[in-house]
């Protein structure tokens, strides 16, 4: 009984770390570029496939992939921003959502065409195989690693944004990009790098997820809708808020899976409805 409960909570914690990583990237991109990146889920999928492809075709293992896959997603993001998103900044932000939706269809379609529907499994790296008994539950090493590293990356991002000079540029750009440009900062370059960094976080989450879930072309799109709900619940105003909301909702999902499994897929949306009724601006949000 307790075994099952803690097992589900651990899965919830892992999902929650992914929600946190993804909603963090979404919030950073939205804050500066004013674009809701629907392609976030697809780029998470690309990250997972990049790791899988590196192992299958090139024999590159997990540890290099942890760096190479986000880097390739970063490059893809740079290309997307430079060639397409850049033309939309002057327009209503619904066009950004629609464009990235189209990109999602293209990416998913291409991967589906090439790799089909079936899942590709990615082995857990040797160093992290096995686990330990904690007395009340069995803790697989890899899962503990995912939670710790994801949260570490989240907090590192928070630290960079809130405590460093680079981060202060980013926050200034979120407030007023034109003024920042007047101070001599290369704002267009910053936009490009920010988009690249935001989606690289998604790619990173993809690599982390590869050994846990099956690597499939559709793995990102269902996730991104839940992450949107997470963003609505937390509000995109605060970075710590995104992290806390992401992890919290993952745990709520895990708990629901234990109490009443069929409701697990919808519980996040129920929470969203309640939050909209009680605190329309979101838990950590400010109306803007």
């Amino acid at each position: 009984m307790a075994q099952a409960l803690f097992g589900q909570l651990l899965i919830g914690l892992i999902n929650g770390s992914f929600y946190a990583l993804l909603s963090l990237g979404l919030a950073i991109i939205f804050g500066l570029l004013n674009i809701v990146n629907f392609a976030h889920g697809a780029l998470y999928m690309v990250g997972a496939f990049a790791a899988w492809f590196a192992l299958e075709a090139l024999g590159i293992g997990y540890w290099p992939a942890l760096l190479l896959a986000p880097a390739s997603v970063f490059l893809l993001g740079v290309v997307i921003e430079r060639t397409m998103l850049r033309r939309l900044y002057q327009l209503d932000n619904l066009y950004g959502l629609l464009l990235t939706f189209g990109l999602t269809l293209i990416l998913e379609g291409l991967f589906h065409h090439r790799y089909g529907n079936s899942g590709n499994s990615y082995p857990v790296p040797e160093l992290l195989q096995g686990g330990t008994h904690l007395g009340f539950m069995f803790l697989p090493k890899y899962r503990a690693w995912v939670v710790v590293v994801s949260l570490a990356v989240c907090f590192a991002s928070w630290w960079v944004i809130e405590r460093t000079k680079l981060g202060s540029y980013l926050r200034a750009g979120t407030e007023n990009p034109r003024l920042l440009q007047a101070f001599g900062v290369n704002v267009p370059l910053m936009f490009t790098l920010t988009y690249g960094f935001g989606v690289a976080l998604a790619g990173f989450a993809g690599v982390m997820a590869a050994p846990i879930y099956q690597v499939t072309p559709a793995m990102g799109s269902n996730l991104v809708i839940v992450v949107f709900a997470v963003v609505v619940i937390g509000g995109m105003g605060s970075i710590l808020g995104s992290i806390v909301t992401g992890v919290g909702l993952g745990l709520v999902e895990g708990l629901t899976k234990f109490l009443h499994p069929p409701a697990a897929s919808t519980v996040v949306f129920v929470v969203m409805a309640v939050v909209l009724l009680v605190r329309p601006a979101g838990l950590f949000g400010r109306e803007r």
Partner: protein, 327 residues
Amino acid sequence: MSGPPGIQETRAAYRAGIITPRRKALFFAAMAAVGLVLPFAVYPVFLMNVLVMALFASAFNLLLGYTGLLSFGHAAFLGSAAYVTGGVVKYWGLPVELGLLAGTAFATALGWIIGGLAIRRAGIYFAMITLGFAQMVYFLVVQMPWTGGEDGLQGIPRGKLLGLLPLSGNLTMYYFVYAIFLGGFFLVYRTIHSPFGHVLRAIRENEPRALSLGYDVNRYKLVAFVISAGLAGLAGSTKALVLQFAALTDVHWHRSGEVVLMTLLGGMGTVMGPSVGALVVITLENYLAGFGDWVTIITGAVFVVGVLAFRRGFVGEALRMLRNFPF
């Protein structure tokens, strides 16, 4: 800088005298007549598909084009209405009229709930919220035992209209669907051109100003949302009868995206745009049906190109060409 480019082109066309009441009446009469004879030239089931999606997109455009609300979850209304209609006709043996009514009523009520929650947040959050709730509806449909899960709800009988006229023939069914489409289209048209519709446009152009003029903005948004959801439901109910099954694809977010694409391609904020867009997209899908994944890839590419370079849509571009080369 106000509103979608389609609306600006329409306005410019009015000012330039391209659109006059007389020409408009003639145009609509001609289109209606074409609709009457078309099933003798083109496969009726294809036409019915186009009509149903055209109604769906027109209902959607009432929100996106005229109220400025991007609903990314409109498939929830189309799909759930299809399932409700299919369910009551198949399992309870209700006549088709009551089936259509039940589906439409269900979508209207669902629109009232989802719309009521979604309008509490503005801008791009609205899109995310509607997408989330639509996903919830999708999961519920997958889980409920009577919907047939992955197989969909199959074998919905078309029945007899008013207990007299059997709808099993595709030609009879076509005229029934055509009548529904004209009714729904007229309702959208009247809503857009009513005082109510003008308030909607005022909200889209400048919400704080509409609010300061004393309009209960949220109430107007909600009513627009409910009308749009109800008509989307009518389209879904009709679709279930046409195809005689209700499928998961109709509740999936791909469908929600498809209706955005139709509206974007045809021309956001134009009366005819969504119908033109539906015709183009359905035709495209029909021709590409054999290419499997390429349908998705090409749809995505059309989306990207449409957003980057074709924001006026077909109708917007046509109006602009007419304005530049007046006849």
